[in-house]
Every structure is written in structure tokens, then in C-alpha cells.
């Protein structure tokens, strides 16, 4: 249901999530991101994320809190229109930087 890849791009750690983030799959991302606060700058690449529910948002918010609490930065990129809508309606769009693509994000964050 979900596939997670970790790619290091210079000083930025890209976590690419593919599939669906619901209550059944989001614990996997939560576990994956548990070490994120130590990594400084995190980019969640959601270009191949087809679905997110409140359970997925919860994991994104938790990771954001952890990373910022440790003095780091977290951003997301590549939201498909329906996932973007969920970010907008939940108010996350004003909390977390959203970039159109990984390339755009890396150019801004580096």
C-alpha cells in the first residue's frame, strides 16, 4: 500500500512516499521519520502519493513538530491536486512550505 524511499541530496534528506497514507499505512511513515529530527533538512516528496487521510496528516504534523523542535526544516513537494486540497482544507498549507516539485524544492532549500 505504501513505499518509502530515502535519498540524500547534498544537505537535504528527501523522503519519497508512494501510494496511500491512511490509518493502515501511516504508522510505517511515522516509524520511518522517527529519526528525522537528527537529519536537519527534510523534504517529503509526495509526487507519487495518491491519497492522504487525517491519519497521514497526523504523521506529517508530528514529523514537522519534531524536526522544528530540533532546529531543523521540513517541507513537502509534488502534491497532486486532491492531496493539495486536503492540505488546504486542514490548514496545513499555511504551516508547512509546499513546493511544486522536488527540483523546485531543492533549488529553494539549498
Amino acid at each position: 500500500m505504501i513505499h518509502i524511499d530515502r535519498i540524500v541530496e547534498g544537505t537535504i534528506v528527501v523522503t519519497a512516499v508512494k501510494g496511500r497514507l491512511d490509518s493502515s499505512s501511516s504508522p510505517k511513515l511515522e516509524e520511518f521519520l522517527a529519526g528525522a529530527p537528527n537529519e536537519g533538512t527534510i523534504l517529503l516528496d509526495f509526487a507519487e502519493l495518491t491519497y492522504i487521510s487525517s491519519a497521514g496528516l497526523r504523521v506529517v504534523l508530528k514529523a514537522t513538530k519534531l524536526v522544528r523542535g530540533a532546529g531543523g526544516t521540513l517541507a513537502v513537494c509534488g502534491l497532486v491536486p486532491q492531496v493539495h486540497e486536503v492540505f488546504d482544507v486542514s490548514g496545513f498549507s499555511s504551516l508547512i512550505p509546499i513546493h511544486t516539485s522536488r527540483e523546485a524544492a531543492l533549488a529553494t532549500m539549498t
Binding site: 487521510s53 491519519a55 504534523l61 486540497e85 482544507v89 486542514s90 490548514g91
Partner: protein, 140 residues
């Protein structure tokens, strides 16, 4: 196109979520529903299912959750019912979406997303069941 209906009854068991999501996806595809309303339907069913399973049966009893979807003209009608304890999700106040990351509580967003993304919503306690009726515009 004639109306296409979807009917599914499930036990109140969290392991049923993947099966439920797969069935709803297949229905949306077969009924030719555009990506936007299909996503909103999927989200409503997912959030309600999780809430019913997590909070509706605090004594751990076995229950039955029923989902009925009907494509009618330019809209999609969802009837979601469960035999859990009485609970009207729409009576809760909307969460506070302002504030910083540090201030935002983790959780409490599901019902807010559903009620914001549907066109109409209603709750009724009918016999021993919580019944929620929602409609979604089929416009893409």
C-alpha cells in the same frame, strides 16, 4: 447512464480498512466518477470507518458497519451507518486551524475534512444505528 449502486457491510474491525478502500476505488472506477469526487468519497468512508471502529464500541462488542453509495444525476449519495454508541460527529465544533505548528493539536481533523469537502451532510440516530447521509457534487 443508469444509477450504479454500491453496498457493503463490514465487521467493526480495523483490518477491514484496506478491503474497504479497494472496493470503493473499484466502484468509483466502474461508475466513471471523476478523481475529485472519488477522492472525497474515499476520504469520507475512511474517516467515518476509523472513527466508528475506534470510538463506537468501547466495550469491545462486535458490530456492523454498512456503506451505501448511489450515483444519482449530478451527485453522489453516501449513506454510512453503524450500530456503535450514539454519536453525532457534526455536533462537534470545528477545529481551530489557526496557530503555529507548535500550537496545532495532533489529530481531530478527519470530520472537519469530510464536512468541508462534501456538499451536504446530516446525522440521525435510527433505531440502534448512527446514520450519516452525505452528498458530493460529481463535477470534476
Amino acid at each position: 447512464m443508469t444509477d450504479i449502486e454500491f453496498d457493503l457491510r463490514l465487521p467493526n474491525d480495523v483490518t477491514q480498512l484496506d478491503r474497504l478502500s479497494t472496493r470503493i476505488e473499484a466502484y468509483a472506477r466502474a461508475a466513471g466518477i471523476a478523481a475529485k469526487p472519488a477522492y472525497r468519497l474515499q476520504l469520507a468512508v475512511d474517516e467515518f470507518f476509523n472513527n466508528a471502529v475506534d470510538y463506537g464500541y468501547p466495550d469491545g462488542r462486535a458490530g456492523e458497519i454498512a456503506i451505501h453509495v448511489r450515483r444519482a444525476g449530478d451527485r453522489l449519495e453516501l449513506v454510512f451507518s453503524d450500530d456503535g454508541d450514539p454519536f453525532d460527529p457534526f455536533a462537534a465544533p470545528a477545529p481551530d486551524l489557526a496557530g503555529t505548528v507548535e500550537e496545532r493539536p495532533i489529530g481531530g481533523l478527519g470530520v472537519h475534512l469530510v464536512r468541508t469537502l462534501c456538499d451536504s451532510f446530516a446525522y440521525a440516530r435510527e433505531g440502534n444505528r448512527n446514520v450519516k447521509r452525505l452528498t458530493f457534487s460529481l463535477a470534476a
